[in-house]
């Protein structure tokens, strides 16, 4: 369908997306984390753009980060140093993991772009003091943005942005819900393109496109296929081939616990509160990233309930190599799933090198087994 193709075109070449945005006299702010407040960036009049690695060979980043740093962090630094991100006017680093923390330093010290902000969010989210601090750092971020644009960001600006991003989140949730209800109604690669596109494209365009896709999918009939229902879990899964390979092996993706998936878009920002309070509330209440803490069991309980809610036949962990927070959680998440009798498989992957043949075999074996 032509609306989905627009998303494909966008993710194929983000620099094209960037040039189009620049023609509207908009500046572009990049970030690597789903705890970056897109609403605040948008309310400041900037275009928020999530950064992914272009997966090019690591040459310049070798001079800054050792080989045991994850391919996302090294890859995005490589893109920046080699000029592939020259369309950026600034970047925001919300605090996540140790590697991102140091990337932020290296990035700042190499100072390529006009705007730079660290948003040092709390690592724990389950106390009142963390809530207060979360609000405090978001207010500080707002001030940083205001200094950059030379004017105030009003509550009305923020509320308008919140409403827009809520709409995007709501429609992405709908698409996922339809897919879970009528598995296979949308190809995994399409799903990937839509979600990733929604993180990089002009959001006003996304807002128009998503409802068309939702309406289209709602009308479509369920394809008669006996695919196994799969939930994907991990940090980011920035490869449409993985979705295609899971489908080729007889699976269908019905949900995810990914930073580039439901962790990013599930949960609305309340529209009837003070905007900064409301943004904080969602960050504190949303599905948690393993680099943050709410309880030692939060992620296990969430994954089990996600799998059950989506009647998953199996869970596939896509583990980004050298991603510590996810690697620490894996054994207990697996234990939680095993205890519930939910079959699971872990795949270690690297942005730079993917062995698709071996991957296909492992998916097939797993899906035949469940």
């Amino acid at each position: 369908m032509k609306e989905i193709n627009i998303f494909y075109d966008a993710i194929k070449d983000v620099s094209k997306v960037a040039s189009k945005i620049k023609t509207k006299q908009k500046k572009i702010i990049g970030y690597l984390c789903s705890y970056a407040s897109e609403e605040m960036i948008y309310a400041a009049g900037f275009h928020p753009m999530r950064l992914f690695s272009s997966k090019s060979d690591i040459v310049l980043a070798e001079q800054h980060l050792q080989a045991y740093c994850c391919s996302l962090v090294r890859g995005v630094l490589e893109d920046s140093l080699s000029g592939r991100l020259d369309f950026l006017d600034g970047t925001v680093f919300p605090h996540t993991c140790d590697s991102m923390q140091r990337l932020s330093d290296i990035w700042r010290m190499n100072g390529k772009y006009e705007f730079f902000a660290d948003v040092v969010l709390p690592a724990k989210l389950n106390t009142q003091s963390a809530r207060t601090y979360m609000k405090d750092v978001l207010i500080k971020f707002k001030k940083d943005l205001e200094t950059a644009i030379g004017k105030e960001i009003t509550d009305a600006d923020l509320l308008e942005a919140i409403k827009k991003f809520n709409l995007i989140r709501k429609n992405l949730s709908k698409i996922y819900a339809i897919q879970s209800q009528k598995p296979g109604i949308i190809k995994g690669a399409d799903l990937y393109a839509i979600v990733k596109g929604s993180m990089v494209m002009d959001r006003d365009e996304v807002i128009d496109l998503l409802p068309v896709i939702v309406t289209h999918l709602e009308k479509l009939d369920v394809p008669e296929k006996k695919a196994k229902r799969i939930v994907v879990a991990g940090s980011i899964c920035d490869s449409p081939d993985i979705y295609t390979a899971i489908e080729a092996a007889g699976g269908v993706i019905v949900g995810d616990d990914l930073c580039t998936g439901q962790r990013w878009f599930e949960g609305q920002i309340p529209e009837d509160e003070n905007p900064i309070d409301a943004i904080s509330t969602r960050f504190l209440d949303r599905i948690i990233c393993p680099a943050k803490h709410s309880s030692p069991f939060a992620r296990g309980e969430n994954l089990v309930s996600l799998a059950k809610k989506n009647k998953a036949d199996g869970v596939i962990f896509m583990m980004l190599k050298f991603c510590d927070p996810h690697a620490f959680d894996y054994p207990y998440l697996k234990e939680f799933l095993d205890r519930e009798g939910i079959k699971n498989l872990a795949i270690e992957m690297d942005d730079q090198q993917q062995n698709s043949g071996q991957l296909a075999t492992r998916f097939e074996t797993f899906i035949h087994m469940i």
């Binding site: 001079q63 800054h64 980060l65 050792q66 045991y68 740093c69 605090h95 993991c97 140790d98 590697s99 923390q101 140091r102 990337l103 932020s104 330093d105 290296i106 700042r108 010290m109 660290d118 040092v120 969010l121 709390p122 690592a123 724990k124 106390t127 003091s129 963390a130 207060t132 601090y133 405090d136 750092v137 500080k140 393993p290 680099a291 803490h293 030692p296 069991f297 583990m319 190599k321 050298f322 510590d324 927070p325 690697a327 620490f328 959680d329 894996y330 054994p331 207990y332 697996k334 270690e348």
Partner: protein
């Protein structure tokens, strides 16, 4: 009494220190029989309130170092990998996690904790590691969240950390079912402050040429400032150690027999190759006079007010070496190079410690630009010997020392 040259160089306080550590671990192992509670705490965490509450602090990281030094790291790391933990994770964490299950290591496992105190000023790894242990031991976990000060200690951070210190006290009162002892806290705070000053003075003695001790000795003597900070024992011990160092300076006793070259070390030690590395450098007449690691336990002392300990430590615990920006870390390295008059800088690129190791290459570049000294980076891991290639490291050290020798001629 022997006065052989090798014996002359031995630091006499080492035996005392071993005895103190043995007593400390014995106390900890028998805590339950003595109706004492045990808290596991991260190496950068505020231990003083525990001492004030008569809770025995246990440091899994110190235990990790012991595991590494006793060359039991590989086996325990493999056991953790069998449990599903990636071999790319911190080897302290891997060794400790599997040790809890198999009761292995030099002590046959650490005493079971009654509570876990995790301060993330050193890394995000401890957050995940302590969650693992909270699930395993089913005990309460307190997290002291110290946001990274990339460029500044902001007012938001100050308020957040200070509030959490209050929450920490409440947490301890709840677990122990006892009122917090503020009077004892004031004493403990003074002792902690004094011990840190003394430790800094001990480290400063190596600015003398030749150096009375090396970083390898500092790695060893560090144990007390970590584990017994806030006690009279630590103060008394470091007083003695300082006296011994000053005496060695007077008597002209150096750690490296013919010290010609002075080096600065970065990152954690390679625990399972301390002796080998020490000999390797010594054979080149080089002494590792200082390091960025052992000074972390006194580096932020300037923020502490000994008379208002609880009210002032928020900044001291938040602004430690690993919790600041890479450019600020580089500034500290440059200061150390100057203070210790180092001829070279040796960086341990430590697979286990991402916040310590990422940014090293930028620091290396800064050091090369701002000083004239050679920099060497060696790839290793603090506990897991599988990431260490002795022949490769040897070749690189030899080449590095060759450059230093040529420069000094």
């Amino acid at each position: 009494m022997s006065d052989k040259p090798a014996d002359k160089r031995k630091i006499k306080s080492a035996k005392k220190m071993r005895d103190i550590m043995t007593t400390y671990y014995l106390d900890a192992m028998t805590a339950e029989q003595n109706n004492k509670q045990v808290a596991w705490i991260t190496s950068g965490g505020p231990v003083e309130p525990l001492v004030a509450m008569d809770i025995i602090p246990i440091y899994p990281e110190n235990h990790g170092a012991m595991i590494g030094a006793s060359k039991m790291g590989e086996d325990l790391c493999i056991k953790a990998e069998d449990m599903g933990y990636s071999s790319d994770l911190c080897s302290y964490a891997r060794a400790d996690i599997s040790c809890s299950v198999v009761k292995g290591g030099p002590l046959g496992g650490l005493p079971k904790p009654d509570m876990l105190i995790c301060c993330n000023n050193i890394c995000g790894t401890v957050l995940k590691w302590y969650e693992v242990q909270a699930r395993f031991y089913k005990v309460p976990l307190f997290i002291l969240d110290t946001p990274v000060c990339h460029t500044q200690y902001s007012s938001e951070i100050a308020k957040y950390v200070q509030t959490q210190l209050d929450e920490y006290i409440v947490f301890l009162e709840t677990i122990t079912k006892r009122k917090f002892n503020y009077e004892k806290m004031a004493q403990v705070g003074k002792l902690a402050y004094e011990a840190q000053l003394l430790w800094q003075k001990v480290l400063n003695t190596t600015a003398h040429k030749p150096s009375p001790m090396s970083a390898f000795d500092a790695f060893f003597f560090l144990a007390l400032i970590v584990t017994l900070r806030g006690t009279q024992i630590a103060v008394d011990f470091y007083k003695e150690l300082l006296e011994e160092m000053e005496q060695r300076i007077k008597d002209g006793i150096s750690m490296v027999p013919n010290e010609k070259y002075r080096l600065l070390w970065d990152n954690l030690p390679v625990w399972y190759r301390l002796k080998w590395l020490s000999k390797k450098f010594s054979d080149h007449n080089a002494c590792l006079v200082a390091d960025t690691y052992t000074s972390a336990w006194c580096g932020a002392i300037k923020y502490t007010d000994e008379n208002n300990f609880l009210g002032s430590i928020a900044q001291a615990y938040t602004m430690i070496y690993l919790n600041i920006g890479v450019d600020q870390m580089a500034d500290q390295v440059l200061d150390m190079i100057k203070f210790y008059d180092a001829d070279g800088f040796v960086m341990h690129s430590n697979r286990s410690c991402k916040p310590y190791s990422f940014g090293q290459m930028d620091i290396m570049k800064i050091v090369r630009e701002k000083t004239n000294i050679p920099v060497l980076m060696i790839e290793a891991d603090m506990v897991d010997p599988r990431s260490f290639s002795q022949s490769q490291v040897e070749t690189r050290i030899d080449a590095f020392m060759e450059i230093i020798k040529q420069r000094s001629n």
